[in-house]
């Protein structure tokens, strides 16, 4: 059955430390179980029975029972799983080094508007992960939002979230 794993000659999951698959499987299954319970609570609150056809909670409740059962199975399977690393710390660091800025970016869209936030995000990303010259970074992070603005706001008249800078310029 080992053939199911992607096998490559330098399998980092064998050699490097990281999060164990067993732990991640169990946590995810537990979260799914909690979600299922929340849905069950919500559905039975409204009525999940059958009166001249299913009530509004009927289907969600049945699905939540199924989800709960499957989550329990996955949890048990997770406990029994062999101890392997599902993601190495180095990989996880990479993922978070984008996920956190991405979260900040989404947060910033609400305040700065999508264009200004994108300019910062582009510049940050290019500095962190690329090896571009400063003028390339500047050009890309200014021009791309500008072109986007031109296409969306001026050509197609699709308003996207805007912030104080656009307001100052009269848009």
């Amino acid at each position: 059955m080992r053939l199911e794993w992607p096998m490559s000659s330098l399998d980092p999951y064998e050699t490097e430390p990281g999060l164990s698959r067993r732990a991640v499987e169990c946590v995810v299954a537990a979260l799914l179980g909690i979600l299922a319970v929340a849905v069950l609570w919500d559905s039975y609150e409204r009525g999940a029975g059958w009166s001249n056809g299913p009530q509004s909670g009927f289907f969600p409740a049945r699905m939540a029972w199924i989800l709960l059962a499957a989550a329990v199975v996955v949890f048990v399977q997770g406990l029994r799983a062999e101890s392997r690393v599902v993601v190495t710390w180095a990989q996880l660091k990479q993922v978070f080094s984008v996920l956190l800025p991405l979260t900040v970016y989404v947060f910033a869209i609400g305040y700065l508007g999508i264009y200004v936030a994108s300019a910062f995000f582009l510049a940050g990303f290019m500095i962190a992960f690329g090896s571009f010259r400063w003028w390339a970074i500047l050009a890309a992070s200014v021009l791309i939002p500008l072109v986007t603005f031109w296409v969306f706001e001026m050509q197609f008249e699709v308003p996207l979230p805007k912030g104080p800078l656009e307001a100052m310029l009269g848009f």
Partner: protein, 503 residues
């Protein structure tokens, strides 16, 4: 044959020089809006609508429908290149299209997708040409019970037990159904599973989930694996089109199967999204190469694209014949029809012959023009894969955010997209299959609505699901397809066991 004469007249209307130019303009604009997440057919139509006020209705509709064709073609591009479905029906295209691009076969995947779209669309147009009035009548026979049966059929054709962990398939499926139910319930008006969050009232949009689970999570996966798109070294030239074409006749049966599935769902009106999944599911089950689907099999691109476009085209029929818009673009077109003083509806075919047949002729021509245009851009799009990851990744992320926002012009959707990006990443790491969840999310609430509408009508009597020939046969085919998997598995198990036992 009477129709054929009208069609020839229609070609004469559509083939004038300025109408062909309008087609070209429309298709180009359509591709642009189709590629950019956040823009779609409706935006393209809206921008050109004022231009059409001074035109005659036939030229106007030719221009605007060309945008529709262009956008249909464009949706596959981001699906193949970045795993981000530009349109809902391109989701199934990502299953094999994206792996192909990763293997450096983006050009082949795009060519296959475009060609398949074209074949599907033409099949749909042929149907409209010859059977329009008949088909429109047939569509009226679909009440809630029949609708449910159609969704059930789609479902059963897609869900076979895959090789993945069975418990995880079920988790994915159940989660999809639960997500589909979030928000105001169509039937009771109750607020379901919103837990007091106002923004969840209108539900979780399928496109937002897909952008997050496929697009965002893909970027995260790529980062983890060393930050570069694998398809970089692909050789790109126009010859790729011819090479791919030489390969396509092998999939003749898949083309036919998907055309039938697509047309059927276009008429019945299950829609293009359902059709793409059904096309993929059927091909996976009945093709000799089905086993390898999901690993970059060209047939897995052909099957959903053909079906989706056969359905999408056939779905224009209800708009023309019944005045019901099948999609947002169709809705804007419908608005256009009315502004030009045309009343869509069954009488359009009788009262506005020249217009209707000019339009139908332009469907043929618009698709041909569209195919030529998109094929010639294949090298251009495939070359996008060569842009350094550190530049293209933030641009993709930005486009994802724009795409999520514009679904309902709601900022909350950008947050949802981010959440589903993380969910998608975790699920991919743990080998949860995503396709069953997406399918359940698309069809779940519609199937449930139809089921409950049927039961309200029958006062809770379940026999509505087998009280006429149409619904009974649909249900029977569904069950047969559902059980086909285990039966076939059992048979093949017996076959492989026996030699093993003999050894």
């Amino acid at each position: 044959m009477e129709n054929f004469g009208y069609l020839l007249d229609g070609f004469q209307v559509a083939l004038t020089l300025h109408n062909v130019l309008f087609m070209l303009l429309g298709v180009l604009l359509g591709i642009v809006v189709g590629v950019l997440p956040g823009l779609g057919g409706p935006n393209g139509v809206a921008i050109l609508l004022p231009l059409t006020f001074s035109m005659d209705p036939t030229s106007a509709i030719i221009l605007l429908t060309s945008i529709y064709w262009g956008a249909l073609f464009g949706g596959a591009i981001t699906a193949v290149l970045f795993n981000i479905p530009g349109e809902p029906w391109s989701v199934a295209t990502t299953f094999d299209g994206y792996p192909m691009a990763q293997q450096g076969r983006a050009g082949e995947a795009l060519t296959a997708a475009f060609t398949a779209s074209f074949v599907g669309a033409i099949a749909g147009v042929v149907l409209i040409t010859f059977l329009a009035p008949l088909v429109a009548k047939f569509a009226l026979r679909f009440g809630p019970a029949e609708f449910f049966a159609v969704f059930f059929l789609t479902f059963c054709s897609f869900i076979g037990m895959g090789k993945e962990n069975k418990a995880k398939i079920i988790v994915s499926l159940a989660l999809g159904f639960i997500l589909a139910g979030v928000g105001i319930d169509t039937i009771s008006g109750d607020m379901r599973m919103t837990f007091g969050v106002t923004e969840l009232m209108s539900g979780i949009d399928f496109l937002v989930v897909v952008i997050g689970m496929f697009g965002i999570s893909e970027i995260l996966m790529t980062l983890e694996e060393g930050m570069s798109f694998k398809g970089k070294k692909a050789k790109i030239d126009l010859m790729v089109v011819l090479r791919t074409w030489a390969e396509l006749p092998r999939y003749f049966v898949t083309f036919v199967r998907s055309c039938i599935a697509g047309i059927w769902l276009g008429i019945s009106p299950g829609g293009a999204v359902a059709a793409s999944f059904m096309g993929y599911g059927l091909a996976k089950r009945f093709s000799s190469r089905g086993e390898r689907f999901g690993t970059g099999e060209m047939e897995g691109v052909v099957a959903p694209e053909t079906a989706a476009h056969a359905a999408g085209t056939t779905a224009l029929l209800p708009m023309l014949a019944l005045g019901i818009p099948g999609s947002a673009t169709a809705a804007v077109l419908l608005g256009g029809l009315m502004i030009w003083g045309l009343q869509p509806g069954p009488l359009l075919f009788v009262e506005q012959k020249e217009f209707v047949w000019g339009l139908i002729a332009s469907m043929y021509l618009g698709n041909i023009v569209g195919l030529v245009v998109v094929l010639s851009t294949v090298p251009l799009f495939a070359a996008i894969m060569r842009i350094p990851f550190a530049l293209i990744a933030p641009v993709i992320l930005m486009m994802c955010a724009i795409g999520a926002y514009t679904v309902a012009n709601a900022s909350f959707d950008i947050w949802l997209m981010l959440v589903f990006g993380v969910v998608g990443y975790v699920f991919k790491k743990l080998d949860y299959p995503l396709a069953p969840m997406v399918l359940a999310l698309v069809l779940g609430d519609r199937a449930e609505d139809a089921f409950r509408q049927a039961l309200i009508g029958s006062a809770g009597d379940l026999s509505v699901f087998w009280d006429n020939g149409l619904v009974t046969s649909l249900m029977a085919i569904s069950l047969a397809l559902l059980l086909w998997g285990p039966i076939a598995d059992g048979l093949s198990l017996l076959r492989t066991r026996r030699p093993a036992a003999a050894e």
